[in-house]
C-alpha cells in the first residue's frame, strides 16, 4: 500500500514519467525497496483508474508525464495525516519457536536464545557498517536512506532486548524451561477439549 501512496506523494511535488518516478522513489528510500518499472506502470494505471493521477504532456523522447489530480493531492494529505496500522504480531515465527521450545523438556533454551541473539547482533553489525560507510552523511538522500536503515536497526535491537527479557524470565524457572509433557487429555475431534476451569465455572454458575 505504501508504494502507491509514496508514488502519489512524489507526483504531488510535480509531474514525472515512469522511469523518473522509480528513480525518485529509489533516492528517497535509499534503494531499500527496489521496484521494477512494470510495478510503477501498473500502479500508475490503477491510480489513473481511481482518478488520482492523469496523463499530461509528452516530451520529444516520448516520455509521458503523469500528473496528480486534486483528489490525488487530497489522498496524499490523508495518508500523511493517518497513522500506519500495524498488523498484530501474534504469529511471529521466533516467538512461536521460543514458546514451543520452552515447553520441551531437555531443550537448552538458553543456547537457542543465545544463537538467535548472536544472529540478531550480527545483523545489527552489518546495518551499522552499512550506515558508517555512507559517503555524505548530511545529504538529504543519505538521510532518507539512513531513516530506513535506522528502522531496521531499532527493530533488530528490539528483538535482542526481547531475547534478553525472555532469558531473564526463563532463568526463574529450573533448567530454563517449563517442561510441559504431552497432555493425557486428548482433544476430541472437531472441537477443543473443555478445560477443567471452565467445567468448574459451569458447575458453580
Amino acid at each position: 500500500m505504501s508504494v502507491r501512496q509514496s508514488l502519489l506523494a512524489i507526483l504531488d511535488q510535480g509531474p514525472c514519467y515512469g522511469y523518473q518516478l522509480r528513480a525518485e522513489f529509489d533516492r528517497r528510500t535509499g534503494s531499500t525497496w527496489p521496484l521494477n518499472v512494470g510495478q510503477i506502470y501498473n500502479t500508475l494505471d490503477r491510480l489513473e483508474r481511481d482518478g488520482l493521477v492523469e496523463k499530461g504532456d509528452v516530451d520529444e523522447q516520448g516520455h509521458v508525464y503523469w500528473q496528480i489530480t486534486d483528489a490525488g493531492s487530497a489522498e496524499v494529505q490523508a495518508w500523511l495525516d493517518a497513522p500506519v496500522e500495524r498488523a498484530q504480531g501474534t504469529r511471529d515465527e521466533l516467538a512461536i519457536k521460543l514458546a514451543v521450545a520452552a515447553t520441551l523438556p531437555g531443550v537448552d533454551l538458553g543456547a537457542v536464545i543465545q544463537r538467535q541473539r548472536s544472529a540478531s547482533l550480527r545483523q545489527l553489525q552489518e546495518l551499522n557498517r552499512a550506515k558508517y560507510a555512507g559517503s555524505n552523511p548530511d545529504g538529504p538522500e543519505e538521510l532518507a536512506w539512513s531513516l530506513v536503515v535506522d528502522s531496521m536497526i531499532f527493530a533488530a535491537e528490539a528483538e535482542t532486548r526481547w531475547l534478553d527479557h525472555t532469558e531473564q524470565r526463563l532463568a526463574r524457572h529450573p533448567h530454563r524451561t517449563m517442561g510441559l509433557e504431552l497432555s493425557t487429555e486428548t482433544p476430541k475431534r472437531g472441537r477443543p477439549a473443555k478445560s477443567e476451569a471452565s467445567d468448574t465455572e459451569a458447575v458453580v454458575g
Binding site: Q114, E157, D164
Partner: protein
C-alpha cells in the same frame, strides 16, 4: 609479532573467602588486537565492569594474567601501572568524568602533563586530539559550557591523546540521547580504525554492534564468543 594490545588469560576475580566467596569472573580469556573493538555484553552483575577494571589495571585479579602492550600487570609495580595508565590506556565513562575547573584542552592534556611532557608539547597534542573529535573550536571551553555529547567527545580525546592505544569505554553512551550516542560510537569506531584497540561495555545492542566482536558474559564467564570461533563449539563450552 602479535598485534594484541590487550590479553586476558584465565582471569578470575573472587570477592570474599570460603563458602561466602563470590566469583565475579571465572577463567576469562580475551584478546583484543590493534584495530579491533570488542563489545562486552551481559546482564547486571555478569562481571562486565569488573572485567574492564582489571583490563585497565585498576584492579588486580585473584588469579590469571593481564598483558597490556607487552607489560605483564601481575608483576608490574604500582609505578609501572600508573605509568601504563597515563601512557597506554584511555578510559571513557558514562558520566564523562571531566574536571570542571579545567578547560577542554586542559582536561585532555592533564595525563600528558602528569607524565612530564612540556606544556607546549602537551597542548599541541591536546589540540590535535580535540580536532580529531571535531572540537577544535572548543579548546578553551569549560565542561559546563559543553553539551553532553561534546563532553563525551572531550573524554574520547583524553582517552586517545598522545600515543594511547587502548580505549576502555564503560557505557559511554549511557547519558546521551540516541543520536548523540550514535555519533560518539562512530567516533570511537573511527579511532579504533585508525589503529587503536578498544573494549566497550554496554547494554545497548545497537551500540555494541559497532564492535568487531561481541562477547557475552554470564555469571563471570564468557558464554559466547561465536564471532571469533564456531558458535556450536562455544555453546558447548558454556555448558
Amino acid at each position: 609479532m602479535s598485534a594484541a594490545v590487550l590479553q586476558l588469560v584465565g582471569v578470575t576475580q573472587q570477592y570474599g573467602e570460603g563458602e561466602t566467596s563470590v566469583s565475579a569472573l571465572s577463567g576469562v580469556d580475551l584478546t583484543v588486537d590493534k584495530g579491533e573493538l570488542v563489545a562486552i555484553m551481559g546482564a547486571s552483575g555478569s562481571g562486565k565492569s569488573t572485567l574492564l577494571s582489571i583490563a585497565g589495571g585498576l584492579q588486580k585479579p585473584t588469579s590469571g594474567e593481564v598483558v597490556v602492550e607487552g607489560t605483564y600487570l601481575s608483576t608490574a609495580t604500582r609505578r609501572d601501572l600508573a605509568q601504563l595508565r597515563r601512557r597506554s590506556l584511555g578510559f571513557v565513562f558514562q558520566d564523562f568524568n571531566l574536571i570542571p575547573t579545567l578547560t577542554a584542552v586542559e582536561n585532555v592534556t592533564l595525563p600528558l602533563e602528569l607524565d612530564g611532557f612540556r606544556a607546549r608539547v602537551a597542548r599541541r597534542a591536546g589540540r590535535d586530539a580535540l580536532a580529531s573529535v571535531g572540537l577544535e573550536d572548543k579548546l578553551d571551553s569549560y565542561p559546563d559550557d559543553l553539551s553532553g555529547g561534546q563532553q563525551q567527545r572531550v573524554a574520547i580525546a583524553r582517552a586517545v591523546v598522545g600515543g594511547r592505544r587502548l580505549i576502555l569505554a564503560d557505557e559511554p553512551t549511557g547519558a546521551l540521547d540516541s543520536v548523540t550516542g550514535e555519533a560518539v560510537m562512530k567516533m570511537i569506531r573511527h579511532r579504533v580504525d585508525q589503529g587503536a584497540a578498544g573494549i566497550l561495555v554496554t547494554h545497548e545492542p545497537r551500540h555494541a554492534a559497532w564492535a568487531d566482536r561481541i562477547v557475552f558474559l554470564r555469571d563471570g564467564r564468557i558464554i559466547d564468543e561465536s564471532q571469533r570461533r564456531g558458535a556450536d563449539a562455544l555453546l558447548s563450552d558454556a555448558r
